[in-house]
Symmetry: C2
Subunit: 196 residues, 2 copies
């Protein structure tokens, strides 16, 4: 057997083991694009019964850390009605039927900002809340994007495009101005992985 | 005027400005602990009408990066029914009436793991999704916690406690095993802010 050097054994803990809940009853309360709640009566492994566990069904979501050829980060801003505030955000959207997650992210970047091209890789997979969301969120890293066309948002969307330096993004992160954790998580990861 | 040296002017971008949506109609569809959706007919600044914008109302949430006196990270694991998977997580919970966010996080840590004490500071504020959540998520950093009592979870909760080294947490983060972005975001931030 060949002796291989410099390969550190993984110190990653083994996956935790818990028995799934048993679904006793399940009912959809609505079937709308942004509102498909499922109410379930579930039995926990301990035998406890939860009469109403709510799961919000969504398609997978995507977002992208896009860097231009001159190392600017492509951000957007828009009013966010849930929180009632306006913040800087990554470009983000939904995976539509028949699209790969990368295709969705490329489409959203082009629609919302007019930027495209560059080298793409999947950078992170997260969940907004695994307790009550059934979907995953795929973050891509796109390096070397450039302005290809004008922004063409969906009817009525009010989205501004911003190009930020790394220092500006770090200043926003430091003050928790990137409130959306689906965006803050990959951005902090990026900063750690790509030191100045 | 005194000349102050070594103070770098903030490079943080000015807050973005967007007009809030105008609420034309608003209706609660339910009033349950984990299901208080509000359906609103809104007018966007562009004049476009969205007939049904859904906001999910929740109390503020809290979570905590807790480090023991011998530098172990206190994690839990539990089955998460929305995603249908079991993952490692930070201790987390809801802010109850009359509690500060720190009191809630201390209570949750004690209930779910039996750990307490130590020096606490607010570490991060995020949102699971500012588009359709109305609440904020407060992350605390607790350094020097110790086992004070036995875990006493709510009736039926099936939660295991794990103590991880920093290497183990970094290995979990590297493979996106901390799926919950409300936990991944502060953990990546912690790793960047506290290099080995």
């Amino acid at each position: 057997m060949t002796r291989r050097k410099n390969i550190k054994p993984s110190c990653k803990p083994q996956p935790p083991q818990h028995r799934p809940y048993r679904v006793l009853e399940s009912e959809y309360l609505a079937h709308e694009a942004w509102f498909t709640p499922r109410r379930e009566r579930v039995e926990l492994p301990t035998g406890a019964i939860v009469p109403a566990w709510y799961v919000f069904e969504f398609p997978d979501w995507v977002n992208v850390i896009a860097l231009t050829k001159d190392d600017k980060f492509v951000f957007i801003s828009q009013y966010r009605h849930g929180l009632g505030e306006t913040r800087y955000e990554l470009v983000a959207g939904c995976r539509e039927d028949g699209e790969t997650a990368e295709e969705s992210a490329r489409r959203e970047l082009l629609e919302e900002t007019g930027y495209g091209g560059g080298r793409w890789e999947q950078f992170m997979v997260t969940s907004a809340n695994p307790s009550n969301h059934n979907n995953r969120v795929y973050t891509f890293l796109a390096v070397g994007v450039e302005k290809l066309e004008e922004q063409h948002t969906e009817a009525g969307e009010d989205i501004d495009v911003h190009l930020f330096t790394r220092e500006e993004v770090e200043a926003l992160l430091a003050d928790d101005e990137i409130m959306q954790c689906l965006h803050a998580a990959p951005l902090w990861k990026y900063m750690l992985r790509n030191p100045f």
